[in-house]
Subunit: 195 residues, 2 copies
Amino acid sequence: MRYPNGKQYQKKETKKRKTSSDISLSAANRGMDLENDINESNEYYSEHDIALITKRPTPINIVKVDYSKGAKIVDAYFEKQSTTDYNGVYKGKYLDFEAKNTKNKTSFPLANITSHQIIHLKRVNQHGGIAFFIIAFESLNEVYLLDSSFVIHFYEKEKRKSIPYDVFKKEGILIKQGYHPRLHYIDAVEEKYFK
Amino acid sequence: MRYPNGKQYQKKETKKRKTSSDISLSAANRGMDLENDINESNEYYSEHDIALITKRPTPINIVKVDYSKGAKIVDAYFEKQSTTDYNGVYKGKYLDFEAKNTKNKTSFPLANITSHQIIHLKRVNQHGGIAFFIIAFESLNEVYLLDSSFVIHFYEKEKRKSIPYDVFKKEGILIKQGYHPRLHYIDAVEEKYFK
């Protein structure tokens, strides 16, 4: 994914230190731009008092800590997120979502969604929260908000390995892209859940 | 803090691996029981479809990863949480809170609360979320829910280094302790914010 002006994403100069989430993403070598775009959008939304959404740090399984060197972690591994990457508050309501991207043009593969995440999102719905996915079709330069119900449906009922692109066209909300915020996804939330 | 029956807290046998949050707590050597009690209460609330509250993993500043060994983290440090430890959803509303304990009997010291956390909680309030603290007075075996407004007030206006115990007695909600859940803190949330 690129900016509408065709420029590649550039890291903010103020961001000097890598966090666990940065590293895990670069390790996996996918979703980098989408994650960064959402993080930047969240900063914008927070600074402009529009919404407060935070990324959950990637959980890390720590094997060994060297306390002689001020609690230096010397042996640890990345763990899979058992919930979702993002949650927060908008107009008093609880939001919870997972962000994924694909190079596919005709469908979104469900291989990277875990059963734990599906259980988590069902629970969010059960408690009256708003649960959705942000899916980027990289090759099409399109990003959609899709309510979790569709993902749950395809995951559980259809036994399919992917959600067809047409479902996004018909049932999703196309997220407007811009400069600040990069992804106007709260506009999509407003359209889908508050109108 | 102990169970009402006087027994010490015992770790669940199923929990075999340490997570980053476990380690950071044992490193700091404080808040161990309170954090575990809240985590267990959250499990109870989730399994019984009462509320969905999750702990944010402790952020870790990763210095070096050895990719020759399957992304083994070989140099990393714990970072301070810039938001709060817990957030989630109850009856559709967004909840956000920090849990702390003290051995003091007459006041709760604010030394461990960061300005980032205060800013975060003010934003939660601004967006219509519910923001509070769970404070355990260990020596008294009392745990209180205190609305964030009081903590923000003492932090910003009073320039005090602590909140007197009397404020908790007068303005807080005493959290009932039990076996399952260990801390009936959602009852306190219900009483404070939903009645």
